[in-house]
């Protein structure tokens, strides 16, 4: 039996064909730009841009994009209620800005993940001079998230077969604590074995990949467009802030 998470599908799309290194750099720049925006107009444009990137550029289903946007906005939803009450229109604008930035960055990450295979994304990170150890750690974290999810699920099944049910009592908290503790201890043991298994196959801290990249003019144009969009949004934002 295989108990595991599923990889999200990566449909063919213009963004899926964009060289992952340029895409990673362009979308990171877009995310960084998003964190600088404060006024409603540029923030709305940013949201529209990231949604269009996801739906048109990445061919991600509209329902998936909307669902993810709502999920991203959920943690800051209380701000949308509390801040207007506390600070009127200004509070409302701050809450909306925080939500918009969060959703925009989240959608950008969604575009990146759904249009790029994970090994390719790691290779792109390496191509952008991210240290090899960090890339290897990210690779292991991705791979073992599936193993740990499987183990957590097996533990839950084992608990249920022995009559355990989640309740709001001390015993439940204790049992969940034990389970999480056991999972962490097993993870630590596994980390040591995985490290040994990597060392015996010659790993010395450098990350190597089989992915080869070839930059085309379209890749550079895409990156330039992303930078231009960020610069335009930031300039508009600064101008709007000055008017206010």
């Amino acid at each position: 039996m295989t108990l595991a998470l599923r990889d999200p599908p990566a449909p063919d799309s213009p963004l899926a064909r964009w060289d992952a290194r340029w895409k990673l750099a362009g979308l990171l720049a877009l995310s960084a730009g998003a964190s600088l925006l404060e006024t409603p107009g540029p923030l709305a444009a940013l949201l529209a841009l990231t949604a269009a990137l996801a739906v048109v550029g990445g061919r991600i289903a509209v329902t998936a994009v909307v669902g993810r946007a709502l999920l991203l906005a959920l943690p800051v939803a209380p701000l949308l209620v509390v801040l207007p009450l506390a600070d009127g229109r200004r509070g409302g604008l701050v809450a909306a800005a925080v939500s918009a930035r969060l959703v925009a960055v989240g959608l950008t990450a969604l575009v990146l993940i759904r249009t790029t295979g994970f090994p390719t994304l790691l290779a792109a990170a390496q191509g952008l001079r991210v240290p090899g150890v960090l890339v290897a750690v990210a690779q292991a974290a991705y791979r073992y998230s599936f193993v740990l999810a499987g183990e957590a699920r097996r533990t839950r099944v084992a608990l249920r077969t022995r009559g355990f049910r989640l309740r709001s009592d001390r015993r439940t908290y204790q049992t969940v604590g034990y389970s999480v503790g056991a999972l962490l201890v097993r993870s630590a043991d596994r980390a040591e074995t995985v490290a040994a298994a990597m060392r015996v196959r010659g790993f010395s801290g450098a990350f190597h990949t089989t992915t080869a990249f070839r930059t085309t003019a379209a890749d550079v144009v895409g990156f330039a467009a992303a930078i231009a969009a960020v610069a335009g949004l930031v300039a508009w934002d600064r101008g709007s802030a000055g008017d206010e």
Binding site: T2, A196, G202, T209
Partner: protein, 238 residues
């Protein structure tokens, strides 16, 4: 024929004072198939980790394909000579796809990406997983994971292959396929197991370990018919 692996008065004590291996002496000739059998806690995995240089240390002397794993300068050259297939394939298959995982070793040894991919595809086909390079490890069955782990080690073309409990987690079909695969491989092989039937089907010689002591060394056919010896060391006749 020269020795691929030789141990002289080899012993190992962990940092917490637990003695895992008492002084033992043996040699494995190049091309030989040897089963390392014994109950749980006998010291089989510790011995493997010493041979591969993962657990560096003294006392005793160990030579693996002419290299001394106790020496840091030799340890860095060991991955090209010795490969270990770990007990749990999930400990070994760490990359997001099988191609990346099998290519991992060759890339570390300096192969180009194209050469590493070619070796990965060749080894995946050799272990019965042709065209599976894009598959993710978590979608494989236990037997497939084991074969992919073997491919990852074979891709480095080691002179000595160490297999730790290879029949664990396998159903009868997976076990049969693995036996067929191992019997078709060239080179020196040491199989640590307490599955004596598996050992009998893959190895001509047996080393019996018990509580860190090397208690017997001889032909499989001879030792596996000595019921009293097997019983004394917590093993059962195949």
């Amino acid at each position: 024929m020269s020795d691929a692996l030789s141990a002289r008065q080899l012993a190992h004590t962990y940092a917490d004072g637990r003695v895992a291996l008492h002084p033992m002496t043996f040699a494995v000739r190049a091309g030989e198939r040897v089963a390392l059998v014994g109950p749980n806690g006998a010291g089989k995995t510790t011995l493997f980790l010493r041979v591969a240089g993962v657990l560096p240390g003294k006392p005793g002397h160990l030579a693996v394909c002419g290299l001394d794993p106790a020496l840091a300068a030799h340890r860095s050259a060991l991955p090209a000579k010795v490969g270990i297939v770990f007990q749990n394939p999930d400990d070994q298959l760490f990359a997001p796809t099988l191609r990346e995982d099998v290519a991992f070793g060759p890339l570390n040894l300096g192969a180009t990406a194209a050469a590493a991919v070619a070796v990965a595809e060749e080894m995946l086909a050799r272990v019965g997983l042709p065209g599976a390079g894009d598959r993710t490890p978590h979608t494989l069955s236990g037997g497939e994971k084991r074969r992919a782990a073997v491919a990852g080690v074979l891709a480095m073309r080691p002179e000595v292959v160490l297999l730790d409990e290879p029949s664990m987690y396998l159903d009868p079909r997976g076990r049969r396929e693995l036996i067929r695969l191992l019997n078709g491989l060239p080179g020196t092989m040491v199989v640590a197991t307490h599955d004596l039937k598996f050992a009998a089907e893959t190895c001509q010689r047996v080393l019996i370990l018990d509580a860190g002591h090397l208690v017997a060394d001889g032909p499989t056919a001879t030792l596996f018919t000595n019921a009293a010896l097997l019983d004394r060391h917590g093993l059962e006749l195949p």
